[in-house]
Symmetry: C2
Amino acid sequence: MSVLLFNYLGRVYQTGACSNVVKNYIHNISRISDVLTSKPIDCSVTVQGWVKGLRKMKDLTFVDINDGSCVKRLQILIPTRDKPNQLAFGASVRASGLLKTNSKGDLELSASHIQVIGPCVFTDGYPFAARKSYPPDYVRQFLHLRSRTTTFGALLRMRGAVSHTVHKYFNKLGFLYIHTPILTANDCEGAGEVFLVMPESKKLREEMSKSGCSEEEAYFDSKVFLTVSGQLHLEAVLRGIGNVYCFGPTFRAENSRSGRHLSEFYMIEAELAFSDNLDDVSAVAEGIVRASAECLLAEHPDDVELLAGKERCRVLEVESLELLAPVVGELVGGSIREDNPDVLQEKLLNLGLQESLAWYLDIRRFGSIPSGGFGLGFERLLQTLLDVHNIRDTVPFPRWPHNCKA
Amino acid sequence: MSVLLFNYLGRVYQTGACSNVVKNYIHNISRISDVLTSKPIDCSVTVQGWVKGLRKMKDLTFVDINDGSCVKRLQILIPTRDKPNQLAFGASVRASGLLKTNSKGDLELSASHIQVIGPCVFTDGYPFAARKSYPPDYVRQFLHLRSRTTTFGALLRMRGAVSHTVHKYFNKLGFLYIHTPILTANDCEGAGEVFLVMPESKKLREEMSKSGCSEEEAYFDSKVFLTVSGQLHLEAVLRGIGNVYCFGPTFRAENSRSGRHLSEFYMIEAELAFSDNLDDVSAVAEGIVRASAECLLAEHPDDVELLAGKERCRVLEVESLELLAPVVGELVGGSIREDNPDVLQEKLLNLGLQESLAWYLDIRRFGSIPSGGFGLGFERLLQTLLDVHNIRDTVPFPRWPHNCKA
């Protein structure tokens, strides 16, 4: 809330200190995933996180904490007499001590100091309790607290990792990342299922309205919608720059409340320059699915196991991924694009789009090239790979009819 | 247009062929950047691209082509008697032949075959001519053809590269990439300058309207706006998962037609968990500027030179980047966030936001942690680094008042 605009220029352009400061910030407190990987036994370690479990014995209290860096928890031992009063499930804590291996061979932190940073009082209305798991429909009522659950934390880490993988994949293939516009005057593909956009301020709409314009058209001189696809814009950029892709939000104003539709969702779309071969298009799309499965197995096996079960890792490993197909119907749609301006003009005329899409015809008239492309629903990809039944559980803040909470 | 939805599942989940097909698609035609780097002298090479220059001599015709993979052109030699009629500035071509070094030491392709793929007839209305350069205001009238110009091609490559760099930077620092929502019921920070969103179909709005709801509220049961910042949502996710960032479109319904404002623009926003130190926040933001400058110098020196002049590379190299500051005023805004629920509640009450932002208060009530963060305007970063005077020339399809073309 308190957005203080500090004078940043004084710092940004100062020399030297930067990388060290970043390094210090990141490294003077250890992430639990790093501690569990590098295992600095008998070394002094400070960790921070949220209490996931607590067992108080006569002499010792065992505290399991997680900091979101991985699905695993680090067990912290403190003398029961030193246990802070506010140490409870859900509280945030900072703990320092020596890292040890216990009799079972597990790592644990023998804490010389533990501090509650933010208490969590269950009776104040915290919706999650210790040692309980909740159905997704219940957790989804608390979108703003959902990252506190072990399961959704795992989903968020994997969504982030697969997103990175998509970018790395295209970068390696030499496809240029294009930010296609969210706002567009083209409603051609939405077939009436588009969202309309206008300034919320009626005063501004009235001020900006030119004669003959409705208030809806006032700001941009035409009705403007939320994009349903970046395809047309990719096709334009491609005819000068070569292979391109986009990966961003798209929108549908459908009144569908199935577990397979969202009003706001992410699409990976790519266009192949100088291509008239659907096999090429399929192969590039297919590569995304494979690269994503590989990333999950290599970087997030614990998260996959937690979210989708131990078996899932084996499914992602097997040579044929076809076992995954049943979860989602249509994962990818693609085609070779119509490149003949005469044929395209005829189609646009029939659809009454000859004026609004004159520019789309134009890109075929000057040094055009054959091209093909596809769109792949990112949430459906996650559903397929991770066996998530409701698409709303693949997005941090899902939006669907009658629901735009948090 | 002709979006044929092919049955992809049959292919996606077939084994084996994938990586080879991708490889073949990418490699049987060489990209000009690869040819100029790997220099396969006396080897047979096929390239594709657009004609950027043409000199017809008695025996030989020299054709300069560019394929968007880099700023450089490859010179192609063909016997003038074999020159296709339609070979002209702006046409797309495919050429095969042997790669040679000419007497000046430059690479050139001695073509055995050249084919015009898409002709370009200047008198049909192509807005660019050979050997002419155009002011940005002129080129901006043809957004759908802008990638055909050498300068904007360079900008697009650098925008894509810096975008990748941003993701790599945060990934390396262990910040999780979060897709914060575009649609939100929170208009708190927009101060009246937000875009309102509703289904375009009046029929749908009427159907979905519950009693007591206006048509504007029908679809989501409340007014819904385009996001002005992902900060609040990042703060929620952070309190369970740790350091997070987002990098996506944000919107302002201002009536500003200066060269420094867009209606749709990209923001890089990050939140630092367990942080109450503004120096940390600044340092992480500062790192983005440095990583971006390094990326441009290392990967795109030719593009930088073309767009901003030879001197610019030296500016990006010098130890202090402060020379760049004057171009943009406020590049970054950040703060330590208010973490005291009582103080925050008071503020929300004063702003009349206690109901709509109840969730934002809630995330402070259960195991909260101190956090700080910043927002960095991506287009202004590009302006700063590349000395681009009008922000509209940093975006593929810019949107500003009275302008939502293509």
